[in-house]
Structure formats: structure tokens, C-alpha cells
């Protein structure tokens, strides 16, 4: 073992991201000093990315169960029953750090990784979504990062042939040094054909399939668990390179082998590659594992066991096969021109034993390492609700001028420039893509459809984390409802700064509490998720950004609802009550540069009651169009509805009623209907406030004072910003 056993110095320990205490614990577990390979394994298994050591205590408080849940957190992805023997399998995951360093490959491999998490479990992936956050549009790096990330997401998703159907993109200076790239994938499987990762069967073969192992991405998981500084650019070699063509072959080969019964367990090689996949499979199965690293397919010669174990080369899977089924499996992978190698066996020793060229190069106890994985109760400050501020614009504010500038602002402008680069219609089941409330994808060969959305409002989370966490869930819920789907479950991606700072830990605790309460009240258990911490550069943290990926089910997709009304003369009805809440609104931010005060209150009971009412109205075909009210308030929602088909609206609201127009009170929807009488009656029975606010009419938006703005003017402003921003000549001064 001498070859791989250089003196472990304090520097080497620190380079591996382990604290002195953690190193001591590792020595105790080993009953000796670990060698370099073993130290590398401790390093990645105990990294924040793999161990959730800062967040575990709080993640445990989230609701994860329900009659619809087949598999909650802990597997590659969450699994939820959608009836008729079908299941939806989904998860969201971050690729923030790599995407900042190398935007195209960082984002592309983010998509590839989340796809593997889903098809590892037996699902055919049917949709990609994402949630992106960039810095100030004026920051010199923003355009470079945005164009690279979008091209990377498209480059991967388009090639594998899975439609990218939705997402959100926002800008804030807080993300100047740490962009967020969260990728979500949704797949569909049969409930009796779901594959898990727990190894089993002593003596069974451990099989490696997919691409060869190269030297890329070594220590990616450790990098993703540290703050950035000016030297982070030098970490480019830790970013992996994606090959979507191989991924496509891997999807087809895996689904082909999964249609038979030769697999005992399967796990993708994601963060920390072969190390974490083999370790986790053995740990979950309560077995040991022995790997002969001489048999690992390598891209280059001379790779060391350390490199093979920690490489994050993409498009690879590890499987445990039933005895004697190797030849059958090999034939399938060879047909798809993929590597196939038996690299080890399942043992009963409870240890991970690594051999290379006949020598034992590593030998670690599995359970003690996994169980001793650090769990911190980091100190945190409760973040109190800020004092209320009064938002009082002067009397000269012209609401419709404000509306026009808002519709053309970085916060609200059309993201068409982005989503037209994504193949959103491949697989020919996309019923609704980006631009509406939720994306809707039909379950192939059925009348059912799944609605899906990603949501978070970081400025609310920053003002008051608990409210912001709950609001992210509530908004996802509303988007699903507005498309006509019953919300089923959610996945979350918790993006925060350095958890070792009590105020950041306070944001995490607050957001998780809010998410938990909302998921409980709205019956949307969290079935999978990911945590990304240390999103800080030179001590400056991002806004707390707990992204919620929501999934809803439409039993009859014919009842699907869209945001745009197609005719004149419909009544516009608002469900939900409005206090004119302008604190923390886009209006306050844009008109008054005021980002103080309280976020809008989340009343979960009201949210649930209003959502239930809207869904029943849509299912009973009483609604021609429906849109939730969120960023920018009622007038922005009505504008988006009107722009969809170029049919305007006449509203019974005066231009001076800024709170009514721009207030961001929650739990509200706008409905276009030709049966407002029945809707008002149903709302009265459900004890939900309902108000007729106007009628669809003409090709402009008109307020009671007669103030009016044409839809073509609004659309032009809305569509112009992003192409203008992205395609403007590069300034030499920047």
C-alpha cells in the first residue's frame, strides 16, 4: 500500500476540505491514519454536498409523506403515484458553482445529472425545467454567464430529446459572484417497475456501464461545498464535460435492460462518482463491496485509484446484477455502443475494499463512516419580521406608464430569447410550455397530464425567510392550480450562503420552517431535493433562494386551462382578497427604489380554500382563462392574460388605486369567464372573496379614468428588453 500512502499532512487534510476534528474522527473510525485514497473518500462523503451536514437537522422537519408518496427523499429522486399503475419521478438539483466557473458545461452537466437521477429509477424522462438566477444585468459577466448557461441547458436537453418546458430566470446584484443554475427533471414509470439503489445479494456482480472514466471533475463535490474567492477561476479543471449523445444512449440502454428483471440495484455516478455511488449502494443495502479498480474503463492511461474513485466523469452508472445475468446485460450495452465492465462484487464484510493491480489500496468500514457523517446544529439567529413601512408614491405616478416600464424591465420582460433556444416540443406531448403559469406535459398514450413549475421570490425570503419559504410553495401551488392540475408533491433546491454564519443559518431555518408549514397545509409533501450552500464570494452571500419545484396531476387533460383569454366580452373576476400590499413589491422596487418592509402575508388556510375553489371551477369548465397574481400584482397578471391573444381589457379600477393595481397580496387568481354569476355564487359558498374587476375588450388596457395603453405597445416593451440586452454590441469599456 506504500505507493498510495504519502504522508498525510495538515495541508493535505485542509485541501480536502476536512476540519481538524473531522480528520481526528476519520482516524478513529479507521483505527489508523487513512491513506490518501481513503482521505479522499472521507472528504467527498463528508462534504456538505454529499452529507448535508449543516442542513440535515432542519431537512428532517419537512413533511415528506402522504398517501400519494411512493418514495420520499433518500433515493435518487422522489416517486409519486399518479393512478392507473403510473408514477411520476422527479427531482431538482443545483449546479451553481460549476456553472459560474464554466457556464456551458456547468449547466449542461447539471441537466445530465438530474436526468440520470430520474431514469436510474426506471422512469423515462419527459420534461426538463430550470430555475436560474443571475447578477445585475449591468454586471460585466452577466451576459456571458446567461448565454453560456442557456446554451448549455439547450445543448444537453435538445440532444437527449427531452423537452425543456419551463422555468424561471431572474436578476439581482446579490448573484453577481454566485449565479444559480437549478435543473429539474420529471419522468414517468410504472409503479411496479421502479428501481432502487440498495445493494443486495452477497456475491452479486457490481457492473459499471456508460462512458469511460477520465480525470475530469475530481473533487467537484468538495468545490461545491466551499466559498468562492478570486482564485476560483483556477478551479475550472474541476468542472466536468457533458456528452448528451452518450446520455441518450444510456437512457435507451437502461430502459431496455430495465424492461427485464436482471437488475438488483442501480445508482448513477453523480457527485463524487464511483466513490459515492458504490459506497451509498452498499451502505443502503447493509452490505460490503469490493472493487477491482484495474477493471474500471478509463479514458486515459496511468490513472490512479484516487483519480478513478473521485472522478466525476459524466454519463456513468453502477448496477448490481442478479447472478448469471451479466452476458444478457452486456449484450444490451454493447448494442448501444457503451462500456460495460464487471468491476466488483457485493460482500458481507460491511467494508469497502479497493484493489488495484493485485494490491489492496483502500479498506474502509462503511457503516461507521456513513453514521459518523457529521451533522451540525449550527448556531443561527432568528430573523424577525421587519417593521412595516409605508409605500407612498407621489401623486404624479401614472400607473400605465409604470406598467409599461415594468413589463419591459429585467424583472418581468419576456424570457422568449431564452426558451426559444430549448426544444420544448420533442416527444410530442407538450401541451403548455414556458410563458404561462405551469408547463403541462401529457402522460404518453393517456388522457392524463402533469403540470410542473419552479418558483421562488428571493426578495420575500430575504425580508422574512419564513414568509418567503411559505410563499415559494404557495406560488408553485397556485401555478399548478391555474393550469387546472391538482397539486401533488414538490421537490426543493435550497440555495444559500455560508451556513457557518448565524444570519445565513437563520435564513435556512426560517425558509425551511415556512416551506414545511406550507407543504403541510397545501398537501404537497417534499419527496426529493438538494441543498447548495456556500454561495458566497468574498464574504457576500446570495439572497436566500429556496426554489420549489411543484408537480400537479390533471386526470383529464382536456380540462387544461391557459392564461390567455380568446374572446371579448368575458367577465374578469378576481378570487381572493386585496389589501393593496405594496411593501417588498416590484412596484416599490422599481418606482421608489424601496426594498424595505414586510413581504405579503401568507394565509395558508385561505390559500388552500381559494386554490380548491379555482380548481373546481376549472374542472367544471366555468373558466375560459386563469392566471395567478404574483410579481407586479393584478395589473401585470391582466396584462399577461391580454397579451397572450392580443385581446385587451377594460377594468373598473382607477389609475390612482396603486395598491389595487400593483399590490402583491397572495392567494389570488384572475379568471376570465362567461359565467361570472355562477362563479360568484360558488365563491360565496366557499367563503372566498370574489370581485368582478372588468371585461375583456378591444386591443388595449383601459382604467376607469379613461387612461389607456395599447397591447401592442406593452407587448413591444415586454419582448424588446432581453434580445436588446443580449444582442447589444459589447462595450469596450466593460
Amino acid at each position: 500500500m506504500t505507493t498510495y500512502h504519502p504522508e498525510i499532512t495538515a495541508e493535505i487534510v485542509a485541501e480536502h476540505g476536512l476540519s481538524v476534528e473531522e480528520y481526528k474522527l476519520a482516524c478513529e473510525i479507521m483505527d489508523r491514519a487513512p491513506n490518501l485514497l481513503e482521505l479522499g473518500i472521507f472528504s467527498v462523503m463528508w462534504s456538505e454536498h454529499c452529507s448535508y451536514k449543516s442542513s440535515k437537522k432542519w431537512l428532517k422537519t419537512l413533511p415528506t409523506e402522504g398517501p400519494q408518496v411512493i418514495q420520499g427523499p433518500g433515493e435518487n429522486a422522489g416517486v409519486v403515484d399518479i393512478g392507473d399503475g403510473d408514477a411520476v419521478i422527479f427531482k431538482i438539483e443545483s449546479h451553481n458553482h460549476p456553472s459560474f466557473i464554466e457556464p456551458y458545461q456547468g449547466a449542461a452537466t447539471g441537466v445530465g445529472g438530474i436526468l440520470r437521477d430520474v431514469f436510474t429509477m426506471g422512469a423515462r424522462p419527459i420534461a426538463n425545467l430550470n430555475a436560474l438566477r443571475f447578477g445585475d444585468p449591468d454586471h460585466p459577466k452577466t451576459r456571458h454567464l446567461l448565454s453560456g448557461v442557456v446554451a448549455g441547458i439547450g445543448g444537453y436537453g435538445n440532444c437527449v430529446g427531452v423537452p425543456t418546458v419551463g422555468g424561471e430566470t431572474n436578476f439581482d446584484p446579490a448573484y453577481n459572484g454566485n449565479i444559480l443554475v437549478n435543473a429539474m427533471n420529471v419522468g414517468v414509470a410504472k409503479t411496479d417497475k421502479i428501481f432502487y439503489s440498495a445493494a443486495g445479494g452477497i456475491g452479486n456482480s457490481v457492473v459499471y456501464v456508460g462512458s469511460k472514466t477520465g480525470r475530469d471533475g475530481i473533487h467537484g463535490a468538495t468545490m461545491a461545498s466551499a466559498e468562492f474567492d478570486d482564485a476560483s477561476e483556477a478551479k475550472r479543471p474541476t468542472v466536468q464535460v457533458g456528452d448528451p449523445f452518450t446520455e441518450k444512449l444510456l437512457i435507451e440502454a437502461c430502459l431496455e435492460i430495465m424492461s427485464g428483471d436482471s437488475i438488483v440495484a442501480i445508482q448513477d455516478m453523480g457527485a463524487a462518482g464511483l466513490c459515492s455511488s458504490s459506497f451509498e449502494m452498499a451502505s443502503k443495502g447493509g452490505t460490503g463491496v469490493e472493487l477491482d479498480l484495474s477493471t474500471v474503463p478509463c479514458r486515459e492511461t496511468g490513472m490512479t485509484p484516487y483519480e478513478m474513485m473521485l472522478s466525476e466523469s459524466q454519463e456513468r452508472m453502477l448496477m448490481v446484477l442478479k447472478p448469471g445475468r451479466e452476458a444478457e446485460a452486456q449484450a444490451i450495452f454493447e448494442k448501444w455502443e457503451l462500456d460495460f465492465a464487471v468491476v466488483g462484487t457485493i460482500t458481507d464484510t460491511g467494508r469497502m475494499v479497493l484493489k488495484f493491480e493485485g494490491e489492496t489500496v483502500g479498506d474502509l468500514p462503511i457503516d461507521p463512516l456513513a453514521l459518523a457523517s457529521p451533522e451540525y446544529d449550527r448556531p443561527w439567529h432568528e430573523i424577525e419580521m421587519p417593521a412595516a413601512v409605508s409605500i407612498e408614491p407621489d401623486g404624479n405616478v401614472k400607473a400605465l406608464d409604470v406598467l409599461k416600464s415594468m413589463m419591459g424591465s429585467p424583472d418581468l420582460a419576456s424570457r422568449r430569447w431564452i426558451w426559444e433556444q430549448y426544444d420544448s416540443t420533442v416527444m410530442a406531448d407538450t401541451m403548455q410550455k414556458s410563458g404561462g403559469d405551469a408547463a403541462v406535459v401529457r402522460v404518453h398514450g393517456t388522457d392524463k397530464a402533469l403540470a410542473m413549475t419552479t418558483d421562488c421570490t428571493p426578495r420575500y425570503c430575504y425580508a422574512h425567510p419564513e414568509t418567503g419559504g411559505a410563499q415559494a410553495v404557495a406560488e408553485a401551488y397556485r401555478n399548478l392550480i391555474a393550469s387546472g392540475a391538482k397539486p401533488l408533491a414538490a421537490t426543493n433546491n435550497l440555495n444559500f450562503g455560508n451556513p457557518e454564519k448565524p444570519e445565513i443559518m437563520g435564513q435556512i431555518v426560517g425558509c425551511v420552517k415556512g416551506i414545511g408549514a406550507a407543504c403541510e397545509a397545501l398537501d404537497m409533501p417534499i419527496v426529493s431535493g438538494n441543498v447548495s450552500l456556500y454561495n458566497e464570494t468574498d464574504g457576500k452571500a446570495i439572497l436566500p433562494t429556496p426554489v420549489i419545484g411543484g408537480i400537479g396531476l390533471m386526470k383529464d387533460s382536456a380540462a387544461m386551462c391557459r392564461i390567455g383569454h380568446k374572446e371579448e366580452g368575458l367577465d374578469l373576476v378576481v378570487l381572493g382578497s386585496c389589501t393593496g400590499h405594496l411593501q417588498q413589491s416590484l412596484f416599490a422596487k422599481q418606482v421608489l427604489s424601496n426594498q424595505e418592509g414586510q413581504p405579503p402575508t401568507i394565509d395558508l388556510e385561505k390559500e388552500e380554500a381559494t386554490g380548491r375553489l379555482v380548481l373546481s371551477l376549472i374542472e367544471n369548465e366555468m373558466v375560459e382563462a386563469c392566471h395567478d397574481i404574483s410579481d407586479g400584482g393584478l395589473i401585470v397578471s391582466v396584462t399577461e392574460m391580454a397579451m397572450a391573444h392580443g385581446i385587451g381589457a377594460e377594468l373598473n379600477i382607477a389609475e390612482s388605486e396603486l395598491g389595487q393595481l400593483f399590490g402583491e397580496d397572495q392567494a389570488r387568481y384572475v379568471l376570465a369567464t362567461n359565467d361570472s354569476e355562477s362563479i360568484l355564487l360558488a365563491a360565496e359558498i366557499a367563503e372566498v372573496e370574489a370581485t368582478i374587476i372588468g371585461k375583456t375588450k378591444g386591443d388595449a388596457l383601459t382604467l376607469t379614468s379613461g387612461a389607456s395603453i395599447s397591447l401592442s405597445e406593452l407587448s413591444a416593451a415586454h419582448e424588446a428588453w432581453m434580445p436588446g440586452f443580449m444582442e447589444a454590441p459589447v462595450s469596450r469599456e466593460a
Binding site: P244, K248, D423
Partner: protein, 229 residues
């Protein structure tokens, strides 16, 4: 009408094509793996969209040299109908069954959107269910759909009525804004001289279902059904 769909490693619209053909013809199309050198006896060979061999070389260049293509070229020359969509169109130009080439989009970006096409020639097996010059709605999704041919070839394509579709606006007008990729003369699809081979960048198979985008694309398969059954 009997049909076959060719599957290359990296094809990703093969299932969509299979579903559209099944719905229109009522018969299960045969899925033919690229490594096969035998083609079943069919009335229509469809080469679907996707990223054959990852498109890591020039789009369609690798697929054009795969074993099954020799047989497809032979059958096309014998008059069997061949439809290439998106990557399939690229394969058909690469193997010489169709003239011209598909270059990187003028924007240098992938583009996925609904587009309108004018039907330029409704006297073929592929287009007889359309009105001449009718604008139809389908969608494009490609990074390399910028059709180009040098002037002599272009004159011949235009003069012989080999242009199948052009990008237009909803009113059927050929305006620059309607051209999603910079194709010369707004060409979206072309026939060979014999009119038994059609290559097109837009995806008719994605517009073959009322619940998903509309049925203007499905009418192309209905035309074939009428002509080849």
C-alpha cells in the same frame, strides 16, 4: 400504406414519427435499427429528427454513411417515398439524395418555435392534401437549419418546382421576420427531381394531434396515405 422509421444512435424524434404514422395509417410502422443492412418492403421510409451520432461531426454526416443508408438510397432511386425531417433532412443532403446543405442558423442559436409555411407545390404525394400556397402551422427545433445552395443549384431547385415549403407569416407572406434560420429564399423543405424524396426542417409529426399544437402537420401523412395506399 406500410412505413418504416429509421433509428440511428441519437435519433430522438423516432417515437414521435412512429406515433404520427400509426395514428394516420392505422398500421404499426417498422422501426429499423441503423446497423441493419436490410430494409423491409415498405411504401414510405421516414428518417426522423434528432442528433444522430451526437452531430459531433457535421450534422447528418455520420448517419449518411451508416449501413442502412446504402439501401435507402437504392430504394429512393427505385421510386420509394422517403421523408427526412430535421436531422433526417440533413442526412438526405449529406447522402446526396437531396441538393444543398443545412448550415448553422443565422442567429448562431438553436431555435424552437411555431412557424408558418406556405405550401409551394401541392401536386406531390407528400402535399396533395394541402391547398397551393396555403399557410400551415408547424414547429421548428434545430441549430443547423439554414438551407443553402449555390446559385446554379438554387436556380434549378426553384425552376423545377422542387421547393416544397417556405417560411412565411400567418397570412402566408414571405417576410424576413418569419424566416427562423436565414435559409436562402426562405426554403424550409425541398423535393428531389422525381418528387419521391422530401426533406424538411420543420416537424410535421409534432403537429399531428389536436391536443398538441394542431393537425396541419398530420395532413402531410394523410396526403401520403392517399397517394401510397
Amino acid at each position: 400504406m406500410k412505413s418504416a422509421v429509421i433509428v440511428f444512435p441519437g435519433s430522438n424524434c423516432d417515437r414521435d414519427m412512429q406515433v404520427a404514422l400509426r395514428e394516420v395509417t392505422g398500421k404499426e410502422p417498422q422501426m429499423v435499427w441503423h446497423g441493419d443492412s436490410q430494409m423491409p418492403n415498405v411504401d414510405l421510409i421516414a428518417i426522423p429528427g434528432g442528433f444522430s451520432y451526437g452531430d459531433y461531426l457535421r450534422c447528418g454526416a455520420m448517419a449518411a454513411n451508416s449501413p442502412i443508408m446504402k439501401e435507402i438510397v437504392k430504394q429512393a432511386n427505385e421510386g420509394v417515398a422517403v421523408l427526412g425531417v430535421c436531422n433526417g433532412f440533413q442526412v438526405l443532403t449529406e447522402c446526396g439524395l437531396l441538393p444543398g446543405a443545412l448550415m448553422r442558423n443565422a442567429s448562431l442559436r438553436f431555435v424552437c418555435k411555431d412557424v408558418h409555411l406556405t405550401v409551394e407545390n401541392n401536386t406531390t404525394a407528400f402535399t396533395s392534401n394541402y391547398q397551393q400556397n396555403e399557410p400551415i402551422l408547424v414547429s421548428v427545433a434545430h441549430g443547423d437549419g439554414n438551407f443553402f445552395a449555390e446559385p446554379e443549384t438554387l436556380n434549378k431547385i426553384e425552376g423545377d418546382g422542387q421547393v416544397a415549403f417556405r417560411y412565411c407569416n400567418a397570412d402566408g407572406e414571405l417576410v424576413a421576420r418569419a424566416n427562423p434560420n436565414g435559409s436562402v429564399n426562405a426554403i424550409a423543405g425541398i423535393f428531389n427531381e422525381q418528387r419521391n424524396v422530401l426533406g424538411m426542417m420543420p416537424h410535421p409529426e409534432r403537429h399531428s394531434d389536436k391536443a398538441i399544437g394542431g393537425t396541419d402537420g398530420g395532413r402531410l401523412f394523410e396526403s401520403l396515405m392517399g397517394a401510397l395506399s
